[in-house]
Symmetry: C2
Subunit: 160 residues, 2 copies
């Protein structure tokens, strides 16, 4: 910005106007700088929040892995009890998911629900009502906004 040299000393009114302009310029530049800093902080914060959440989430799974390790440690002794132990670990993992807000859906016999189930086939089923879930191929977790995935199922049809 080139400075203009006034050809006469400024009047009191002009001085007040100049002061007002300087004040507004200062306020504007400060607000722009604050905005810039806020945006940078926002980016840093998002990365930090993400990393913290990642670490917290991973830490939740360590007890599951620890118990899997413990179950395998006695694998040579008694295979049957190992399987019992592993079943308990699986239940622990399912409970963890439920606590995190992602309940397991693996029930057969319930009516097919497109919000919870994804049909990958049909199967003629004696006894089962047509349109119900005949078999859960892969369990689903969560529902609505908090659905990780629907359950993959076979749907019962009337027997031929």
């Amino acid at each position: 910005m080139t400075e203009q040299i006034p050809d006469r000393p400024p009047e009191p009114d002009e001085r007040a106007t100049e002061a007002r302009i300087a004040e507004l310029e200062d306020k504007w530049l400060r607000a722009v700088a604050d905005l810039d800093n806020a945006r940078k902080r926002m980016d840093r914060d998002a990365e930090r929040v993400r990393a913290e959440e990642r670490a917290r989430s991973v830490r939740e799974w360590l007890p599951v892995l620890d118990n899997l390790d413990l179950a395998l440690r006695h694998a040579d002794a008694d295979p049957k009890s190992v399987i019992e132990g592993v079943r308990a670990v699986r239940d622990q993992a399912v409970s963890l998911l439920e606590r995190l807000g992602y309940a397991r859906h693996d029930e057969a016999g319930v009516p097919f629900d497109p919000g919870l189930h994804e049909a990958v086939g049909t199967v003629p089923a004696q006894g089962a009502a047509p349109g119900t879930v005949a078999e859960v191929v892969r369990p689903g977790y969560g529902e609505g906004d908090r659905q990780l995935r629907p359950a993959t199922v076979l749907v019962a049809t009337a027997p031929e």
Copy 2:
């Protein structure tokens, strides 16, 4: 703000100054409003980022749980092969942790390192050099800033 009625028509110079003041006021108010919006967005984003990261992280563990389910599905058939399957699931979980940046530390025989190990006891060890890890009681994951927990170990002492 009360408007001042000029007692004479404004000169061209005055009109330019008034326009400059109006322009600066406008810029300032816009910057302040942007800053306010950015702060509100920041709060909303932090919650969204957290929820997204949580869901993403949980989703990573589903294949581990699926394979645990599959291993148990054949439990009645052959316990030995179940154990092989479960071992593979454990290795899959360890690989996942490593991929997320948390390498497993479960090696015996290495020198005790206070950054990686937490000693919970000592054991007189034939053959092992005093001050090395004689036994890993519970594996550790990650290191430095990205450590989830140190490995819990027994440290070798000279045999009595």
